[in-house]
């Protein structure tokens, strides 16, 4: 079982595809932060909150509510993939991802999911809020899976370090440790997500085997990297008593004594109709605070410090 996850962008890369740069983030780590959402991830969690960041390739996002039916996209598309009658129909099969329509669309109804950024361009954005970060805030690298962009990060992190900017990484844990280790040692905080420890369950929920994730989690702990272990609690998916216990046991064995629980939100489902994908809505209600507190008891009994996040 010593498989290595596939990774992309292994050479120092000049640019990276970035879905969004969210300024004034106050939920992804301490203080005021700017969060960078890289595009592409190897997992396919059924509840992924950022489905537009899953694929490695860029894709077309269509927000129909913004459309003013001007017809510009229809004329601009070189592949005849857009037909407008009472509302625009995008033939995703004919779409070759050239994004001509996004250039002409006046209302941002059609947009590429991500844009290419060079390290310099990204740093410029990240420095804009440097006066607001304060001693604890800074930059959060998220996604998608940021630790797959090792080439890009190799150039980015030293610049941020030199500017004394606090860097947090939000990861699903599915990455190549050897490549990631030197980078993780440069960041100030790792927000490490664990979805499930039972291998079959993990495979079913995320499409991947969790061996590398467990190994990496242990590696992070052993390396003494400052971290927060976080678990999204998704009703009916990974929140059975047994699974929670199993996670608690695993973390305990790994030497961890605190865990952040993230309640499931269903907001992401509204993004689905904008994308061309086979992802299905889960149809599960968001998890309330009281239920989350109940789930936390399992960890509490095992002596964990449990922290709730929004």
């Amino acid at each position: 079982m010593n498989q290595k996850p596939e990774t992309r962008n292994q050479k120092p890369a000049a640019t990276a595809l970035i879905c969004d740069i969210q300024r004034f983030s106050i939920h992804d780590g301490p203080g005021i932060r700017t969060t960078v959402f890289f595009k592409g991830c190897n997992l396919r969690c059924l509840w992924c909150q950022n489905p537009e960041a899953m694929k490695f390739e860029n894709e077309l996002v269509f927000s129909e509510e913004r459309c003013i039916l001007c017809g510009e996209c229809q004329s601009a598309c070189p592949n005849g993939a857009i037909i407008i009658n009472d509302h625009p129909h995008i033939n995703r099969e004919s779409c070759k991802g050239q994004f001509a329509c996004t250039l002409v669309c006046p209302s941002k109804a059609l947009e590429p999911a991500a844009k290419q950024y060079s390290v310099t361009e990204l740093v410029t954005e990240l420095l804009k809020d440097v006066d607001y970060y304060g001693p604890e805030g800074g930059v959060t690298l998220s996604g998608g899976e940021p630790m797959l962009k090792t080439g890009f990060l190799t150039k980015l992190l030293p610049v941020l370090k030199e500017k004394k900017i606090h860097v947090a990484v939000e990861t699903c844990g599915y990455f190549d440790w050897e490549k990631a280790e030197p980078l993780l040692k440069m960041v100030n905080l790792v927000l490490f997500d664990i979805k499930a420890v039972t291998p079959e369950l993990h495979q079913r929920l995320t499409g991947k085997d969790n061996t590398p994730i467990k190994n990496n989690l242990v590696n992070v702990i052993r390396a003494g990297i400052s971290r927060q272990i976080r678990m999204p609690v998704v009703p009916g998916m990974n929140d059975s008593e047994e699974e929670l216990e199993a996670v608690a046991l695993f973390l305990k064995d790994a030497g961890e004594s605190s865990v952040h629980l993230l309640p499931y939100h269903r907001m992401w489902e509204s993004k689905l109709k904008k994308l061309h994908d086979t992802i299905k809505p889960l149809g599960i209600a968001s998890l309330g605070e009281e239920e989350l507190i109940k789930k936390a008891e399992t960890f509490g009994r095992k002596g964990f410090e449990v922290i709730f996040q929004a």
Binding site: F24, I26, G31, P106, S107, K128, D129, Y132, G134
Partner: protein, 832 residues
């Protein structure tokens, strides 16, 4: 209300439950004096002093139950006084309907209406500041007193109409004295004003907007001031100066008699009273009023009483708007300490006294004739109190009283006083936290001011570093060295987007259907951005010049007809120079005039630059055609601009650069000019509610804003441009060069409940404010209510009668705002 004493709760309820009315007493006494008793040989300044004294000796003396600080501005609570010599005559057309108007209805009795129509109006119609100014133009042109003649004929004709017909006549014809103008070049400044959409000149209504030296009042008492004037008078040979000193003495004697009348009344009530506790209180009120303002106060309560009686007296001379209190935490601190140390007061009793004082400020309302309600919605008197900041040497001056004042205002939850908190690099954390906690509790107080930007701005405007450090904001947001400055801070508001419209239409306005500005060229001949910007600059230059000419004329009229000897006695300078404040007596003289709609012009220029000259999607003429047509049939272009063009507020370089440029152009034009008091004009960027009123006169703009819609508020980015979050928003604003904006700016920020409810609460708040101030932000204020709550209040005004919100540099009851102003506040909160 949890922290309020029973006394304060009932005083507050008494005020809020009093019906709104008009008090005609001041107007009656003033008319009586000027018409029947003034001496033709007296210089204007002496006549003015005698008139003020006459009023102070006769105005009603009322002590309300339970109050510890006493003094009533008029015969009724919750009433508005009239200033017939300034702008009150303009209410004539609507006087019979005023009780029924939709927003801001006022009760006035039939008897008082009669008095107004038959006696007050006819006497003053040819003697208002506006009429005198126009008369001045005519005299200069024709060498005659034609206007006085016109006024008389006009009045006679008016009086011949039957009463109800009169109201009808005026509601249809809408004659206003200042609008009786002829198409002459020298009338141009007033003609443009009478269009209402180019600029608003407010000195028609009086000047006020000043912070008297209440520190000096506490230190020396009126007796000390009188002694000094007497000494100067004795050594003065110059007739004009002697007149001025004599006038000041007459006016000050009026103040003293006014106080004596209160002492007598308090004594009488004490003697008549049954309640032993109240008797004791009244006796101490009587004692206070016989001690102050004559002498320096001996106690905290006397200090408040001294300031209050003086303040009221000043309003008999100067219209009731924005005479502010300055740095009360500094003025009152020595007596506060003394009282605490001697055990005479406790923080709790001091808090109650302060709240009694604040409630006195809430007791009266300004009266605006119909049209002006749109520009100054919310019935504000904008009387402010400042806390925190550095002292004259630059050390932190925050003290216990700063906290106590903050808490007492915040707990009271009334729109007044307008509370300003000064911040600087070393403001103690405890004070910052207290400010944030007040703001995030839903109180609209205080607004925040950055010493590190304002002090250098004042120094640049010509004030000494020591005096600049001792500034206090006044009115809405205007920082002036306190007690030393005749800042005339609210003299005019200028419609900047209209200047852009003129630039794009060769001097013509589409909605005013008139030529307003010079011919600055056909846009078909424009070849680059420089041409566009230059045309805007030339139009702004013209409009500013006209605004200045009009304002200067009004300023001279105040000086020549209605000087302010009483106010002059509480400002540093007039004593030494022997000159009234209206004549340049003050140590510092400015005229503050506001540029409205910076964001709209900036976004428009950025859109033109991007669309026409960068992306070359469309020619300037095509764009101008689309805009003139209000984007009809071209929503695609409008969406393109709104979504993809650079904008101020989104922290992109062009948006920020154009905002800085627009503010800079206006500032450069303004600071070229001098006022009749020997000072310069200085720019401010706040709009009260004029951005809504001005918007009605501006057609569609290249920014994507549609014809007739509100303009942007103060220096705040436009509504659509704040979608990049608070840090981008604040970065954009701080890219404006505030060192030029010495008259103050207003930034409105809706406070996202996410910030307030976040666990990190105050830290986030602190990071935002510190970051913004560090980057050069000048001022900021918050509204922490939720949109739902306000929508509810809009639907059920009855239940939310006392809901206070921050409008634009001041606070108001939500229910008093026009529907548009309410909508704007809701929209502001729905963003970020």
């Amino acid at each position: 209300m949890n922290n309020l004493s029973q006394r304060i709760i009932s005083l507050k309820a008494d005020i809020q439950n009093s019906p709104r009315s008009i008090c005609i007493e001041r107007a009656r006494l003033l008319t009586e004096f000027y018409r029947d008793l003034s001496l033709p040989d007296d210089p204007a300044v002496v006549t003015r002093a005698k008139a003020v004294s006459y009023i102070l000796e006769r105005m009603p003396v009322i002590i309300y139950p339970g109050e510890l600080i006493t003094g009533a501005i008029s015969s009724k609570r919750n009433s508005a006084m009239l200033y017939p010599e300034f702008s009150s005559l303009a209410m004539l057309p609507e006087i019979r309907m005023i009780g029924k108007r939709k927003t801001n209805a006022f009760h006035i009795s039939g008897k008082d209406i009669d008095l107004f129509e038959k006696s007050i109006f006819p006497y003053w119609v040819s003697r208002t500041v506006g009429a005198c100014a126009i008369n001045g133009i005519i005299s200069k042109s024709f060498g005659g007193r034609l206007m006085l003649g016109l006024g008389t004929i006009f009045t006679r004709a008016f009086m011949m109409l039957p009463g109800s017909f009169r109201g009808f006549f005026f509601s249809r014809v809408k004659v206003e004295p200042e609008k009786v103008v002829i198409g002459m070049k020298s009338f141009e400044p007033f003609r443009l004003f009478s269009l209402y959409g180019v600029y608003v000149l407010t000195e028609f209504a009086g000047i006020s907007h000043i912070t008297p030296d209440y520190g000096l009042l506490i230190e020396k008492g009126v007796s000390g001031i009188v002694k000094e004037i007497n000494l100067r008078l004795a050594g003065e040979a110059d007739k004009k100066k002697r007149d001025f000193y004599s006038a000041a003495l007459i006016a000050l004697s009026g103040v003293l008699r006014f106080a004596e009348r209160y002492a007598t009344e308090a004594k009488r009530l004490a003697d008549d009273g049954k309640d032993a506790e109240r008797k004791k209180e009244l006796l101490s009120v009587a004692e206070n009023c016989s001690t102050v303002p004559l002498n320096p106060p001996g106690s905290f309560q006397q200090a408040l009483q001294s300031i209050w009686l003086t303040h009221l007296a000043l309003y008999q001379e100067n219209y009731d708007n924005a005479i502010s209190f300055g740095r009360m935490d500094q003025h009152l601190y020595p007596l506060y300490r003394k009282g605490i140390e001697s055990g005479e007061i406790t923080p709790e009793s001091a808090r109650e006294m302060l709240q009694c004082f604040w409630l006195k400020i809430c007791e009266f309302l300004p009266f605006y004739p119909g049209k002006f309600n749109e520009y100054f919605s919310g019935l504000l008197t904008s009387q402010g109190v400042c806390v925190g900041g550095i002292d004259e040497e630059g050390r932190d001056a925050t003290n216990e009283l700063s906290h106590l004042i903050l808490d007492s205002v915040s707990d009271l939850a009334t729109p007044l006083p307008n509370l300003y908190a000064r911040f600087h690099k070393a403001t103690p954390e405890a004070f910052r936290k207290n400010v944030y906690s007040s703001v995030s509790s839903g109180s609209p107080h205080p607004s925040l001011y950055n010493d590190d930007v304002i002090v250098p701005a004042l120094v640049k405007a010509g004030c000494s570093p020591e005096d600049s450090r001792d500034y206090a904001p006044l009115g809405c947001v205007e920082p002036n060295p306190q007690g030393k400055t005749m800042g005339a801070t609210d003299s005019a508001l200028v419609n900047l987007p209209l200047c852009l419209e003129l630039a794009l239409n060769n001097g013509k306005s589409l909605l005013l259907k008139d030529r307003i500005g010079p011919e600055t060229g056909d846009i078909d001949d424009f070849t680059d951005m420089d041409d566009v910007v230059n045309a805007f600059r030339l139009q702004t230059e013209h409009v500013v010049k006209m605004m200045v000419d009009g304002t200067n004329l009004l300023g001279e009229t105040h000086r020549d007809y209605y000087p302010a000897p009483l106010l002059s006695s509480f400002i540093d300078g007039p004593g030494e120079k022997g000159l009234d404040v209206t004549a340049g007596g003050a140590k510092y003289n400015f005229t503050g005039v506001q540029g409205v709609g910076v964001a709209d012009v900036a976004d428009s220029l950025a859109a033109i630059d991007w669309l026409v000259y960068q992306e070359k999607k469309i020619s300037l003429s095509e764009l101008a055609g689309i805009v003139r047509n209000n984007f009809n049939g071209r929503e695609d272009i409008r969406q393109l601009i709104l979504n993809k063009a650079p904008r101020y507020g989104r922290d992109d370089e062009p948006g920020n650069r154009y905002a800085k440029l627009v503010a800079g152009i206006y500032s450069d034009e303004v600071t070229k000019h001098k006022n009749p008091r020997g000072g310069i004009y200085i720019p401010g960027f706040y709009s009260v509610t004029a951005h809504i009123a001005f918007g009605k006169y501006v057609s569609g703009l290249p920014s994507g804003r549609l014809s007739g819609m509100p303009l942007s508020n103060g220096i705040t980015p436009a509504a659509e441009s704040s979608d990049r979050g608070p840090t981008a928003f604040l970065n954009s604003v701080s890219s404006v060069d505030f060192a030029q904006a010495a008259n103050g700016v207003n930034l409105q920020m809706g406070l996202d409940p996410v910030i307030i409810n976040n666990k990190q609460g105050f830290e986030l708040f602190d990071l935002l404010v510190n970051g913004y101030f560090k980057k050069g932000g000048m001022q900021i204020q918050f509204n922490a209510l939720t949109p739902e709550m306000l929508r509810n209040a809009q639907a059920n005004p009855g239940e939310y009668k006392w809901l206070t919100v921050r409008v634009a540099g001041y606070c108001a009851y939500f229910a008093d705002l026009s529907k548009e102003a309410q909508d704007e506040i809701i929209a502001r909160l729905s963003r970020h």
